[in-house]
Amino acid sequence: MNRAVARDGMVTGMLRRIGAVGVFFGALLAQCVPALARPRLIVHQIYNAGARSLIIVMMCGVFVGMVLGLQGFDLLQRFGSEDALGVAAALSLLKELGPVVTALLFAGRAGTSLTSEIGLMRATDQLTAMQMMAVDPMQRIIAPRFLGGVIAMPLLVAIFNVVGLFGAQLVGVQLMSVDPGAFWSQMQGAVELNDVQEGFIKSLVFGTACSLVAVYEGYHSEPTAAGVGLATTRTVVTSSVLTLLLDYILTAAFL
């Protein structure tokens, strides 16, 4: 009986939370239009969320590409098709690994930074001060950060993919002696615009989801040190789970 009540409470709490995020998202979208009139704020946030995540994204991109090169070569040579390594690496990166791994890195680097920044602004009354100056923080603070995240994500994914391909080439061609002509020409022949589009749409959706979670958690964090810490943790966990869930749904939709 108690377990059933607790389960009902959990379900109700989750539905309430989803509803609250939905309402917040609606209000945020309404503020995104006036926020677009101040491109400098958005460019600054693209720099914060994107450029400041570049090093970690590029480092991880190289390593993921190198692992792809190793694993792909090991698998393909069993069938004598190691020349298809370029295709395998490109499709894996463009359609799956690029958007997903970048989104997970984005949640850990830029998402946590957004949440803690907004949470601290709440804890130190900066958001209230803005409201008292008749400035809507949703328009001045939240919307530019959200838009910055949404725009930065596809750019980061593109860079991750390029660097990842370099890593795969480094291992496959330079280390395992796959023919470079075959590596690049097969990739060129097999990869279609649809594959790039799929990755681009995924990166946009993940960017939207991760940025939304980050700004929502920051805006609604308890105005205490523990509250901001908890909100930051929730950002990483929720963004990561949401990214993988959305990835499955989008992959199924594209097939």
Binding site: L120, D125, Q126, A129, M130, M132, M133, A134, V135
Partner: protein, 286 residues
Amino acid sequence: MREAQRPIAASAQTGDAVVEVSGLRYSVGRREIFAGLDLVARRGRITAIMGPSGTGKTTLLRLITGQVAPSAGRVQVWGENVATLGQRGLFALRRRIGMLFQNGALLTDLDVFENIAFPVREHTNLTEPLIRQLVLTKLHAVGLRGAARMMPAELSGGMGRRVALARAVVMDPELLIYDEPFVGLDPISMGVIVRLIRQMNRVLGITSIVVSHDVHELAAIADESYLLSEGRCVASGSPEELRVSDSEIVRQFLDGIADGPVPFHFPAPGYREQLFGVNGARRSSR
């Protein structure tokens, strides 16, 4: 001095009321913060709101500025019922109000100059040279023209409070609200803030509401004081009237007496009972 529980004849005698609080009730969960509060802040005067910690002084400011809505009663600012205003109406009202927060609440990613220019940039189309002049004038008024390019993290507590004050007055508000402006300041900084509050009031004619529990500083600047306790106004009058009052609660507050109508101990079970158990027998240490 007007005694405790006696309703203040607000609307009847105050055509110049800027803020009028009547029959205000406000609860957080099951805890009642205000149980029928009445007070008035009049045009061009400095109204002090005093009371022990936890009496809801800051909450009262949140109610006056429409950050929270009362459970019952009315808060009127310039005759408008704050609780019925939508966001547009609230923002229009707040553009006439300046607020100094307890911790300054400066925007940490902007320097001092940009913090003060912030409301000007948001609400006007003034040219950059004009904004510069305006900001430097306000900074000069608080004595911090030389700190224009410092970041908030580099400022001392007193300097931060002065920058916040410059920001609060940069749009020339008609009502200025100070939330605990003296907390954590050294005597020099405190003296500076007291002087600035008095100047803002006398020179610019700004109506001021100062929430604080620093009795002596308030006595030096306030035209009228309200003493809050247990959700009500327990005494009001000029600082002089409060000073000579023989009301027990006023004496406890002004003289800093540890125990009295405001008890030293937070409500708790009996000391003996809690230490040794219900029958006085020491509990086992299991």
